[in-house]
Amino acid sequence: MALVNIKIDGIEYKVDSSLTVLEAAKQCGYNIPSLCSFNHGKCSKASCRVCLVEVKGARGLVASCVYPVNDGMEISINSQKATEARRVSVELLLSNHNQDCQSCRKNQNCELLRVAQLVGAREGMFKGEKTPTTYDDLSPSLIRDTSKCVLCGRCIEQCKSVQGIGILGFENRGFKTIVGPAYNKSFNNVACLQCGQCVTVCPTGALMEKGEIDKVDSAFKAGKFVVVQTAPAVRAALGEEFGMPIGTPVTGKMVTALKRLGFARVYDTNFAADLTIMEEANELLERINNGGKLPMITSCSPGWVNYAEQYYGDILGHLSTCKSPHEMEGAVIKSYFAEKNGIKPEDIFVVSIMPCTAKKFEKERPECRGVNNLPDVDAVLTTRELATYIRRAGIEFNRLPNSEFDQDIMGEYTGAGVIFGATGGVMEAALRTAYFWLTGENADSLLKCEPVRGLEGVKEASFKIKDMDVKVAVVSSMKAAKPILDDIRAGKSPYAFIEIMGCPGGCINGGGQPYVRSCMLPNEDIDIEDTYRAKRAAALYSEDERQTVRRSHENTQVQALYKEYLKKPGSHKAHELLHTSYNDRGHKLK
């Protein structure tokens, strides 16, 4: 790492020569506002013009997000010329923005609003015509409102670099430019994963999840028996919405809040994660023993399932037929739980709190209907929406005492269920149970299965179980998955079992999780955008370690469910309620 000397507003600093001016200034304790800078400047397009600074000797003002530092450079962030230019840039962006800030759901997290305040933007400086806009809310997961778009291009880059697909692009030119899928189609009518990774980087409210709090309100109003379940990854991130440091687990406070919100039962999707492991491990062993299609691939992530159906329709036979855990939980609530409590399934309304936007799409699938053709899950709220819901009810989250999930018949969960939220977690949980079934004993080494932990896009491992060598892979993000899937397509995949998650890092980094932008988080470390995934994952692994029961097959309530109701993993009843099927949707526009 070569160091160079630079001056910022007359003060000398030593910085890494590979940095951009914006990154270098950040290291030195300055926050140059920017709306398009992204991935340490590697993907920045210098499109927003908000990060302008003066550099001595340079022609005009420079966009600091793409301008590299060099030795002896004299930068001015605070000169009259630079501050005025940044203010005008933002005022021009605002002049083509719909400015409905008071009612915008992005308000507390809006980078444009924040930047407008930072640069001291004045109201109504440039009045005139506005670009014709598109409002797309056809998709069950995502909303695109181009009246709020600042054309920064982050979403386009994210879709391309993370998922490797590039469903979004700039369209038209000049004043008529908008961002959207080809032909300005809806997200619903193109081969979009509904993963929401674009939402996580949008600086404004132009891309957001489709809100469903109203649906939950209506269910309460209609007198339904409203049951809520929370995914493992939610507890690792919800605290961030209330100003807590990233990586603070808030399981107890979250449960208290949900109880105060009036839900009839507060359950943990982890129960169904344990159930998923029973079904999935059973399916894997059946495939191995009966010459079924291998490798088998997990099906917990609806973003990944959408990718498979739209891009790899010819290998759908490799996907486990297991529904995702929250769908299983919903199906069991509307059958087993309903019967036990003498409630009509029609009167039950199941709400899932998920770190995910694609789950909203998944719950609408006709294949995800069980009892009396009712949807297994009725509404899906993201982690962010839950925070909004809690605030609206006047609940002071940070002051809440802890409480426990409801413990009746489906309240128990194991450490194996908790780690589903991090990439590699499903694999580790499945191995713990598969090992026991094959050998009749538990392997303690699988309680901290290092080879499948960590945030790399692809992890490989090999395990000796009895006389069998089981080769596995763990993948997160579709860009990382592509070569693995191409191998399967070519019939040369060396694995028996593959875990695939749609978002990089798994559910902890899902499209429904709190926004992480270092410029909005002055109390976090400056490298937080690189470290937050690991911090959230650590919160889950620590909860796993605190559990006394850490293997899914040891969950006594899951055992009771099989004994009393489902009979055994893979039974007819289990298939009816807990399994699903997939369709080739390769015709969708890519």
Binding site: I156, K160, I165, G166, I167, L168, G169, F170, E171, N172, R173, G180, P181, A182, Y183, V190, L589, K590
Partner: protein, 166 residues
């Protein structure tokens, strides 16, 4: 509307020809535009399949450059230059006159498929301002009164072509 067999073959050939260039998209699109007179959605999807680029990216390029068209263009493409030099010499009035006489706006094509009006930004013929280009022919110093004659010229040429054909 699906592409015809021969069009699929020709587009694939064009893609093959440029596939190994460092940035093949512009060349492919230019060749398809020249060959077919426009780049319909189906052609963009085929190019996407053949190159691995997303349709969104291809569509972005097609809609960015005015040279590319999503709809079929007329036999006679009347390009009126609205670059600075032509504009100050009244080319706006010239294009307005074309619009009135043909009953279409810039970017549109007459229902009989004869004429398309394009608003151009500087065609490099500033010395001839205001300039109008019809297909490959450039008309210099065009006045509003000349517009009708240019249209007549095209119609006469077309009639002559048809007679020859018969």
């Amino acid at each position: 509307m699906a592409l015809q067999e021969h069009a699929i073959k020709e587009i694939k050939e064009i893609v093959d020809q440029y596939k190994n260039e460092p940035t093949p998209l512009m060349m492919i699109l230019s060749a398809v535009q020249t060959k077919f007179g426009y780049i319909p959605m189906e052609a963009q999807e085929l190019i996407s399949e053949e190159t691995g680029l997303s349709v969104a990216e291809i569509y972005g390029v097609v809609t960015f450059y005015s040279f590319f068209s999503l709809k079929p263009k007329g036999k006679y493409i009347i390009g009126v230059c609205l670059g600075t030099a032509c504009y100050v010499k009244n080319s706006q009035q010239v294009i307005d006159k074309f619009q009135t006489l043909l009953g279409i706006k810039p970017g549109e094509t007459t229902p009989d498929g004869m004429f398309t009006i394009d608003a151009l930004r500087c065609i490099g013929a500033c010395a001839l301002a205001p300039a109008v280009r019809v297909n490959d022919k450039v008309y210099p110093q065009v006045r509003v009164e000349d517009v009708e004659k240019i249209i007549d010229d095209c119609e006469r040429m077309e009639a002559a072509k048809n007679e020859k054909g018969n």
